[in-house]
Amino acid sequence: MPFDPTLFTIASIACWVAGMALFIFQKKHLLVKVLSHGLFLAGVIILSVLAALLWQELGRAPMRTLGETRLWYALFLPLIGYATYTRWKYDWIIYYSGVMAIVFLGVNLAYPDNYDRALMPALQSVWFVPHVIVYIFAYAILAVSALAALKGLWINYYRKGRDWSPQLADNLVYIGLGFLTLGLLFGALWGKEAWGHYWTWDPKETWAFLTWIGYLAYIHFRHHKPRQVVPAMWVLAFAFIILLICWFGVNYLPSAANSVHTYSN
């Protein structure tokens, strides 16, 4: 029987909950601070070990099913959150990324994956791992940028004053769009080897293109009208909705009847 990830999952969640709770009081005492940061990172490490063990156990990259991709999200979000926090000191990002990661793991606990070794021949490629990792990383960063957009909108509508969230959003979008572009192009190079053409306007590709071009519109608008924050933040929020459709929704669209990319379970 494949091994059970439940214990690791619960341990990670516990680390994050404790880490975030202590984080509230981190400024009070150095020990509290060290403990809170240590616990938060320990959650990430435990989950990395789980990913590595699963990889070994399955004999393939655990990136095929939705449940498996949720695992990588739960791994990357706190990591990106922590990195963003250390770089720019936004406290809220620790709570956000921690809570999101817990939600992803919670879904995995509620719907345990039917782990299955089988990886269809077309997925057995050197491109599979870089393509998926880069994409998940991009999605995780862009998810944070969407939140920055919402914060920016909220501040602009309800509170006046200096607002740094657009600049945080820009920084995140530059990185996220960079990774998104890598993922898109890795996908194209892979497609050429696996299916014979680098771009076929398959529904998943079509939505990946829409996601990409949405963020492109955002950075160009920001470059042109840096002061018009509200429309820019709306564009960013909308781009994230397209991203979500691309990620989850494509399977349900009528246009996807012939897609080669729908997730199997």
């Binding site: 021949p121 769009l177 696996a194 014979g196 079509t206 939505w207 071009i213 519109a217 160009h220 009847a257």
Partner: protein, 420 residues
């Protein structure tokens, strides 16, 4: 925005208003052409027409930029501005969004959708116009930062010119893209390929199938309802991989795999390992029910030569142990490749590992699934895309450009040494 609204439309300098009107004009014209003349015919662009179009298009953009360089407020210069970029991006997004919601297959859509070209978007006039506007804006933006050349614009150049090359090369190249299939039978030398309409084409190479190979993952053991063939329970299928010694619980039965052969044949009431045409996987399993009763017997998926075997669990044919059909792990074809120059060599064509020969790439495409791993035929797809090096040049430029993009973030200014 407010200031722009005060300026009458179509007076220089242009802004967003003119951009949106251009988009509307292009959509209306495109739609009119689509309805009156029908969709586009890619083949009209075949070599060398695409080369002429691509190079004159690029030359016109470059010349247009250079000639109007000293007239910063002219509409031509406006094409290199962000309002042109954004309106063209939105036009393309709009059309691709429609494509994202419409199944791209004429036959499966109502007539009005076909007439508007929505079910074959990439061959429609509005799409061509949108892409052209987009490419002009992109080309002009490239020129703007290229001349005079500055080192710090390299990242910009990689992204913008790289994307220009990808899209222009991809669109023009699609006219020269050839995709054919070659149906091979063991021991037969095949020089012809077939296109999607079934027309035969003479190839500059020939293939002879030595063997089609399919490897499979081990099957799984499940409980099914023998009357319907459905897995029980349907909501959360319980199953585990079959391998001698594996043990698990399914529907309260303790199930153990005692013997397993990936390839076997039926001998009276048991299975023996064999390796001939039509062999199938089989396993000897033992199931122990809650009350301690023990049932032992063979299960097999069967094949086109052998019936499948189930193990009845409760003597009333309600629940039976069954073996799932194994999933493929590898497909490949061993073929002998002949060229007109007289070269003969044996190669393996595998999924994800195409073979290049005589300017063609050969892909494992299909096989006769009625026979599974014993298929006597294999279908190879032969693809020639002479514009691929052009598109790949663009792809590698944008790959480098996206790394540059990641470095653009700025740290926020601090207020009194405090982070915001």
């Amino acid at each position: 925005m407010k200031q722009e609204n005060k300026k009458p439309v179509w007076t220089s300098p242009w802004g967003y208003a003119e951009g949106w009107l251009i988009v509307l004009g292009l959509l209306a014209t495109g739609l009119a052409l689509q309805i009156t003349t029908g969709g586009l015919n890619r083949a009209a662009l075949s070599w060398p027409v695409n080369l002429y179009i691509g190079s004159s298009f690029t030359a016109i953009i470059a010349a247009g930029w250079l000639i109007t360089r000293n007239y910063r407020k002219s509409p031509v210069q406006w094409l290199a501005s962000i309002p042109a970029a954004i309106t063209s991006i939105v036009m393309v997004t709009f059309l691709v969004l429609i494509m994202g919601f419409t199944l791209q297959d004429d036959a499966q859509n109502p007539v009005w959708v076909q007439t508007l070209g929505l079910s074959n978007m990439t061959a429609s006039w509005p799409f061509l116009f949108g892409m052209t506007y987009f490419l002009i804006a992109l080309g002009m933006a490239t020129m703007k930062r290229l001349i005079p050349f500055k080192g710090r614009n390299i990242g910009f150049f990689l992204n913008h010119f790289g994307l220009y090359i990808i899209i222009l090369g991809g669109m023009l190249g699609s006219a020269d893209l050839q995709r054919y299939t070659m149906e091979l039978y063991e021991g037969e030398i095949v020089w012809t390929a077939t296109d999607h309409h079934g027309h035969g084409i003479e190839m500059p190479l020939a293939l002879e199938l030595v063997s089609f190979n399919m490897e499979e993952y081990n099957p799984k053991v499940v409980v099914i309802d023998p009357h319907t063939g459905r897995i029980i329970p349907e909501s959360i299928p319980q199953m585990f991989e079959i391998e001698a010694g594996n043990r698990g619980t399914i529907l309260g039965y303790d199930v153990e795999i005692e013997q397993f052969y990936m390839l076997s044949g039926k001998m009276e009431d048991r299975y023996e390992p064999v390796n001939h045409f039509g062999a199938a996987p089989a396993a000897l399993v033992r199931a122990i029910a809650n009350d301690g009763t023990e049932i032992e017997g063979w299960i097999s998926t069967g094949s086109f030569m052998m019936p499948h075997s189930l193990l009845d669990l409760n003597h009333v044919y309600e629940y039976s142990l069954a073996m799932t059909i194994p999933q493929a792990s590898h497909y490949s074809s061993d073929v002998i490749l002949y060229t007109q120059a007289g070269v003969v060599k044996e190669v393996r064509i595998e999924v994800n590992h195409p073979v290049s020969a005589e300017g063609w790439k050969l892909y494992q495409y299909s096989y006769d699934d009625r026979f599974g791993r014993w298929s006597p035929t294999s279908v190879i797809e032969a693809i020639r895309d002479p514009w691929l090096p052009v598109v790949y040049t663009g792809i590698f430029m944008v790959l480098a450009g996206s790394v540059y993009l990641m470095t653009l973030g700025k740290a926020p200014e601090t207020v009194n040494g405090e982070m915001p």
